[in-house]
Symmetry: C3
Subunit: 138 residues, 3 copies
């Protein structure tokens, strides 16, 4: 069994961003030379997400509004923010979107359906954060 | 390390359906002859889900109502639907339910608790879509 | 390829609890002697969750209120409860929080960001339930 790890760094311009990281994951998969196995991609910070969906700008705006409705910023609503933080909403948004994805590797490629793309979802940005890619297989 | 892949096809009669696919996954696991490892089961389309819960009809109706409340159809609410689609709600519903499950394989079986069953969750059906099963181990 | 499994048992004092299980998972990882691979941790019951977030009491109270708002107890609201159960809300809460996490194992350790901790989320407690830890790798 082979294994291969790589970390991607982010420091987003905006507090919230959705970034397509599929090309980076494909690059790391090629470096790994693994042909059959599983590829884990996860946010290493608890106010960020890695998820799979469509690379369509309208949908991304829909996600923003929808998440704001389900888990609004409103600083005073959250006990977590009594610690001096103001990012409780970001912990909740990331919970909806998910921490990680596991993708099958088949014949050296991410075994994806026609529209699947991997995104980094930042909900409390403007600081340095990491994503982990770990591939195991043969 | 062994690996084994299989695709399940769906073309649901209704726009939304929850289908128990546990027997199909167990069949693929037997074919694989893998005794210890991990089994990934994921939707390959971004308006569908694979998740684990209870095979109880009342609960499935509860899921339907709950998801409709959290992410209503309302076509005009979503920017994604300006592209000619009307399935933005289905992208959001699948986000709540999740894209994938990873199940432990122990002594040649899905290592499940008493009520765990694997479901395909279709939220924009009446067209051909796939689920991927990928098992790695020994 | 090596694999290693262990089950953790819970019987919570309260109906709902969030319990940090990171030390237990780290102990099982050391026992496994696996240095590079993947570690699956999942709830084996469908009204409980395993998730990764921050070990901060205020945030945990925020999670409780937020989940109660998204999926209230209200017994009469749910068809599932016509079966004699009163835990439909717990099935929904667990869906939001997720069934499982997959964590990378690197140099014999959980490959975590600075604040990542693994929690058992119980939403219908006061009975015996299990969590599964399965590690594969080398």
């Amino acid at each position: 069994m082979k294994s291969y790890s790589k970390y991607l760094w982010f420091n987003t311009k905006n507090k919230q961003e959705l970034i397509n990281i599929t090309p980076e994951v494909e690059k790391v998969l090629r470096e790994s030379q693994i042909k059959e196995g599983l590829c884990l991609v996860n946010a290493m910070h608890i106010t960020a997400s890695v998820f799979i969906n469509d690379d369509e700008q309208g949908l991304h705006q829909d996600f923003d509004l929808w998440l704001e409705n389900l888990a609004p910023h409103k600083k005073d609503r959250y006990k977590h923010n009594l610690t001096g933080e103001n990012n409780a909403h970001a912990h909740l948004k990331r919970t909806i979107m998910g921490r990680e994805v596991v993708v099958a590797v088949t014949e050296g490629k991410l075994d994806f359906g026609p529209w699947e793309q991997i995104f980094y979802g930042e909900f409390d940005g403007q600081r340095r954060k990491r994503v982990l890619i770990k591939i195991i297989g043969e």
